[in-house]
């Protein structure tokens, strides 16, 4: 009887349902390269919007380590596990996850080459590789140097390395950070990091100092940061802008030295945030231009350089939106909507996009910058009259509320994407 039942079910299955291969041919396939905030959001949004769509996420790492809140890990306020998310939620939502690296793209043949030499055809491709650190952009700073002077600008082992270095540093040591010229991932990030390192130093190693060497003349939420530093960490943080010799021109990892046009700074702990560009697969796909970033159409996020390839998140440039996880998440949803319209032969509709970046200056002291954006003259342009930063004069309760909202945002975005 069991044998007979098995056979009957087998026949019924083959008669009633077409084989998976036949289904795969019918439903258009969208391939998403990169399982960060941009790529994972997009894969999930596509599946949510159209369950028949064949959505494949190509991501070699079994777990994603999120950058937002990773400065808290560096300062010992949080464990790295709180930053890590797997792909089971995406799989449950019907996304096929391929745990391999994409090594090439043929835009003409519409195929992605994987590291095991297999190919994936696509009707539309999403390139969401985030950033690569430019190890040719700062003399002396290569992969080996990053093991002595961590960048910690991709969360994971580098985050933990910087934390261990701070923990091992003697009280009275000089921490030196270098911040790059724009554009780079997370514009307020270096200054949130400086704040939380200062918090760690003040509470654990109060004779220590922090020097920020900056390749810029100004930075995101500058007045809010500087006013908070005066109140919370007086005399602890020194910020050196470009015109005062802030641009780091060379580093010597062996001696822990950062060189600027004006002098040399020997650090007990050095955090070098180097210049960046779109992740390598963007170059391989031919969607990055000579700046290293990927120009896009602001309505569909389709590449300006290759048809049927969309670029979202930190790798994309196309106007005023900053490179943040919030932006990546927002762009991914708009891109998913546009791709579905294009696959159906419909015209994509223009959308407004929102970004909010929270920074923690201390565990209970949050500040934010927000913006609303819309396509205008081919660029994502800020909607006038909207957006802006937290008020400069606000009570402690306001700062505490924003710190709480920062946590709330992180919980809801990671739950939406990975939960």
């Amino acid at each position: 009887m069991p044998d007979r039942r098995k056979v009957v079910i087998g026949i019924a299955a083959s008669a009633a349902f077409p084989a998976p291969a036949a289904l795969a041919k019918k439903a258009p396939r969208v391939v998403v390269i990169g399982g960060g905030f941009a790529g994972a959001t997009c894969a999930r949004a596509l599946k949510r919007r159209d369950t028949n769509l064949n959505v494949v996420l190509v991501e070699p790492n079994a777990r994603f380590t999120a950058c937002p809140f990773s400065n808290g890990v560096i300062a010992g306020l949080r464990d790295i596990e709180a930053q890590q998310f797997g792909y089971d939620g995406l799989k449950r939502a019907g996304v096929e996850v391929i745990p391999l690296a994409a090594v090439g793209v043929d835009p003409g043949a519409q195929t992605v080459m994987l590291e095991d030499a297999s190919d994936l055809d696509y009707a539309r491709l999403v390139v969401a590789p985030g950033i690569d650190l430019d190890f040719n952009g700062l003399p002396g700073y290569d992969r080996a140097a990053a093991k002595a002077m961590p960048h910690a600008w991709k969360a994971g082992e580098q985050t933990l390395l910087l934390r261990r270095q701070l923990e091992a540093m003697e009280d009275g040591g000089l921490v030196v950070m270098s911040a790059p010229a724009s554009p780079f991932r997370c514009p307020p990030g270096p200054y949130e990091r400086a704040s939380l390192i200062a918090y760690y130093l003040k509470t654990r190693k109060p004779r220590s100092k922090l020097l920020i060497l900056d390749a810029k003349e100004s930075f995101s939420k500058q007045k809010l940061f500087q006013s908070a530093w005066e109140t919370l960490y007086p005399g602890l943080i020194e910020w050196t802008p470009l015109s005062f010799g802030g641009r780091v021109t060379e580093v010597d990892a062996a001696s822990g030295t950062l060189v600027t046009e004006f002098g040399r700074h020997k650090a007990a702990v050095a955090n070098v945030i180097p210049p960046q560009r779109a992740g390598a697969v963007a170059q391989a796909a031919g969607v990055a231009d000579q700046t290293g970033w990927c120009p896009i159409d602001p309505v569909t996020f389709e590449s300006r350089l290759q048809a049927n390839i969309h670029v979202i998140g930190d790798a994309a440039v196309g106007g005023a939106m900053p490179k943040s996880a919030f932006t990546a998440n927002m762009q991914a949803k708009v891109c998913a909507e546009a791709m579905i319209a294009l696959l159906r032969g419909e015209a994509p509709t223009e959308q407004k996009l929102v970004n909010t970046c929270y920074s923690l200056v201390a565990p209970d002291y949050g500040i934010s910058v927000a913006g609303v954006y819309q396509p205008k003259d081919g660029l994502l342009t800020e909607v006038e009259g909207a957006g802006g930063v937290s008020p400069l004069d606000a009570p402690a309760s306001f700062r505490a509320q924003e710190a709480g909202y920062a946590q709330g945002w992180f919980r809801s975005v990671t739950n939406e994407v990975f939960g």
Binding site: A45, R48, K333, K352, V354, T356, S368, A370, G371, V372, V383, G385, A386, G387, G388, S390, F398, Q401, E402, Y405, G408, R411, S412, V413, N415, E416, G419
Partner: protein, 60 residues
């Protein structure tokens, strides 16, 4: 923080307009609400009101 999914559209519209016009105190919502017209706010509210809140999903 409560999810907005399934809230009545009317109360979302009223809250957004109050954020926009400064009638309701906020940290960030005033800055965001100022970027949207009344029609857009209504469309957002109607979409949110139509969403069910799944047990393990904070909603888009």
């Amino acid at each position: 923080m409560p999810s907005l999914a399934g809230w009545p559209a009317d109360s979302i519209v009223a809250a957004m307009i109050a954020f926009r016009d400064g009638g309701r105190p906020s940290t960030v919502m005033d800055r965001i609400a100022r970027g949207f017209s009344e029609e857009e706010i209504t469309a957002i509210a109607e979409w949110l009101a139509a969403q069910e809140e799944p047990p393990n999903d904070a909603g888009p």
